[in-house]
Amino acid sequence: MAAEDLPSQFDVVILGTGLTESVIAAACSRVGQSVLHLDRRNYYAGNWASFTFNGLLSWIEQYKNQQEVQITELEQVWRSLIDEGEDAVPLSALDSSISNLEVFCYASEEEEKEEEMKTPLSSFQPVNAETVSEEANGDSTEAHDTVTGDDTTASDAKTPNEEHEVSEPKEDQHTSDISEPSQSQEEKESQLSSSPADPPVEVQKKITYQKLVKEGRRFNIDLVSKLMYSRGALVDLLIKSNVSRYAEFKNIGRILTYRNGKVEQVPCSRADVFASKQLTVVEKRMLMKFLTFCLDFEQHPEEYQDYTEKPFREFLKNKKLTENLQHFILHSIAMVTQHTLTEEGLKATQHFLRCLGRYGNTPFLFPLYGLGEIPQCFCRMCAVFGGIYCLRHSVECLVVDKVSNKVKAVIDTRGQRISCSHFVVEDSYIRDEQRQSTAYRQISRAVLITDRSVLPSESDQQISMVTIPPLESSAPAVRMVELCSSSMTCMPGTYLVHLTCSSSGKAQEDLAPVISQLFHVSTIPGEEPSEGAEERSKPAVLWVMYFNMRDTSALDSSSYSLPSNVHVCTGPDDSLCSDYSIKLAESVFHHILPDEEFCPPAPNPEDIIYDGDGPQAEGPGFDESTNTEADKSLAEEEGNSEPAEMDSVTQQAPLDMTPASEE
């Protein structure tokens, strides 16, 4: 706890390691600013994080425990550090951006009740385990009622602004397990891994819950589900800044859509249109003709000028496109709503088309090991250029100069005063007192682990993007990304499915109807135990998690009453791409450093001139990509690392990387 661990002076202090903050950190560090980058969590990337299955279970645990966390009164410590002529602006210690979290498990439970009592994670699903077994007996309705009953009471009792108090319906079931909130993740993990000590009997190829836990390290479950447009702001930035060298990517293999009760492939590229069996040749021509027009629609204003004030949907109708084609274009290519105006729809279509073919037959890329890799890559760039990182380390309050109304220092959670000229902070650290408006939108999210693809094809290793138009006119359109195991986000034999939509209510209310359409969920009331062939053709849900995430992207600097050198970064938005966050990072950067270039290319290691002899003699520098020899030796130095379990590192590394020691 030595305060001397950190220098007392930085150019920029950044709190929160989400995408926007990480990009700002990298950009500032890259042009020579001294950067201190903090996060109160014990993992990187905030709400952009990816977790192993076990890591996610801990995260769920933390969420539930949060309300019980005692806010330790450090006030007196930092009071003494405030001088005359200075004001203290305290920050929030609680993160209330996640709400309505609910978990259901449908994977069969091999172990008996005895086992469950030993395991802390079994706390999430005893009720469900019962429903599963009761379901097997053909008595499903009653079990289901208990679930929904709890749900409604919970939602009725709480208003949206009190989300963090909205608790798991089955809370009483696991109070016994919430032992100490301070229990470290390592301890939990060791418990998790020890729990299935007696190996579960492998029956057929059925995936049990124990198996999910045992293979939990193969999962990288994103809190935010986004894809990267191959010509979007994020990809451009990754290329421009050379940060792309820290990550690997996989193409999205296909675009699917849900239509007339069926999942269909959307023909979007030339090869797709050619190969499509669902389109007639005339439709093929109409589609290609329309798409070609969209590519440079600005050149042909006469085609659409009558429709600039009208919805894109009407424009499509007017173009005499068939129902089929209208659906594909509106929902899956432009991905706009019924009300989007023509020009915006054309622009969206154009963007989609321009991204085609750069890296493959669809416009999208996905980072291997999950989206959570991306903020970490930028953090890495920041660290390479001298940025300092501390996790589980936050800022208690800002020290504001009364005269200039500017932040001159921050006081961290260890009571150290650190002066800085700029302070960048994630929205969730801001207290309500500093807000002008608290009207947020919400994002509804569901994460599913399923046993097969929604549209099986020759290759079972494709990432699919599925657009699901509103089931009812009032419901939001749902975006679904199905990840295969070769994307390094789930164990072989399973698929990780992310559903996202802008909320109209609780995540479960928004998304459960869609899930029951596309998947086989074993607790659907009235379902016959002897399933018809149709039901079985759907993938079965093994595990599902619902939650709402606050979408603060509509807020801007006028929404906060904060000093001018405090820059608030809003969290993830509900769009498919990350362009919003990147643009925000760029604008904050230009606010801080108006005359500097944003993320210029990092130099090649061999082009750097090293002053003095020390570091140069030590070897590999950061040229890890080309020097495999060095890679190996470094990996060996690691000693405790298990090369087979690559995913484990995402969980370990952030902890280990914290420069300030925990002891």
């Binding site: 030339r270 040749v281 890495r380 660290a383 300092i388 020390g614 890679d631």
Partner: protein, 524 residues
Amino acid sequence: MNLYCFTIYRSSSQLSLSVFCQHGRVKIKSTAQQEEEKRKEKEKKLKAFVSARDAVLKKRSAGEHDEEALQLTRQLLSSNPDFATLWNYRREVLLHLETLREKDEVQKLYESELHFIEACLKVNPKSYGCWHHRTWVNTRLPQPDWTRELGLCDRCLSLDERNFHCWDYRRVVVKASGVSVEQELQFTDRLIGSNFSNYSSWHYRSTLLPQLHPQPFHSHRVCEEQLLKEYELSHNAFFTDPNDQSAWFYYRWLLGRGVCVCVCLELLCICEDTSAHPMLCVCVCVCSRARGDDQLCVYDLHVCVCICGRSELSVEKSSVLQAELQSCNQLLELEPQNKWCLLTIILLMRALDPLGHEKETLAHFQTLKEVDPMRSTYYSDLCSKFLIENTILKMEYAEVRVFSLSNKNLTTLCHLDQLLFVTHINLSSNQLLRLPPHFAMLQCLEVLEADDNAIENLEGLYHLPKLEEVSLRNNQICKLSDLESLASCTKLTRLDLRGNPVHRTAHIESELSQLLPRVTALSL
């Protein structure tokens, strides 16, 4: 790999702290420094290359065939695989070593050679030397592994589907390993599926299909059922992208399969002796028009009359073609400006009913010339050909000896071989530039009307024994020498040259009467 990244991250970030913190910014070498370094690097490389090359060539002239030679050529070729001499030398060495070793050692020797070539192909996937050497190595290999070779081709083609070196090599591999035609057809399916602008795949398909369902008497025909599938495939391609020609070419090949263009003509040839006593002899010869024998060689026969037999289309075939015409018309509705579509429609119409569709054909030709002005002359020539064919068809039915093609915008003359009995030909008001040499085939011709053209060359009016009257009003005949060939037409008595630039030549009348003494009625 991620593991490595992270572990290095940790050490490098600690390292970087000590590197960068005092300096604030990273110091980077200037571009001049970098260039200088690059230049030095290059020079060093060149020096090494040249000395190694000299050593190798010296060894070769000394006739040394040892391991060292392999080693040296290996170094050179891996940086420049296009050095053919070195590949030759390597073959010499390998052949020598082969005699010294056991069979399984030879196998190993050549297998390592294959690995080496693979590395060279990564340097230049279009190196002639590499591919040739690989083929050679496989012929020397005691137990060639064709599956691996096929795999190599697949990888290579997935990187560059138009690498013709690889296509060539693949054909060798397929032949040697006996891959079934069905599998190969699936292979082209796959390639076409990923990108249908691929001539190589389409063409390969066209060689595979006839093998797949061989028909007993027509070795180049494709069975009907398969044809329909192929039509569908090409529809998909050209409806998706009508401007992509690869599928259109394939489609036209397919249509050819159906129509059976290779019409066997039974020719009845009537020979007439050059002597004053005509003696008719009849002979029957068979020739195939598909071989390009549109113009029959007139051996020692002076008159050769052919009775052209058109093969009638079977009902099924014409209904298939009718359906194809419909889908093309459908496409034309959507893409009225597409030249491939227009051209294909014209060809289909001709195959179905050339006379019935004449009007539409002409309209389509007009559009074609507008949308594709670069090829307008080609289209005019093609149109002329079709018009002449149509006229011949009509004439056949009427069995007349008078042939009129006036005012049809003809730009070229063809199929004259089918007009050998014609005595009276009218070519007035066209856009002909010349009467080509094979015009001399019309040995029965008595009267030629070719007014209002742009003819400047009369080389085809040569040795026409029955020609009596020629009218060439309003053409572009400029010089007296252009008329010289007429002197060989011994019966020519009437010649009309009004409206030609030649009349401005001095003493034209006297010159002409000297050149063509038999002409009695001359109009200038």
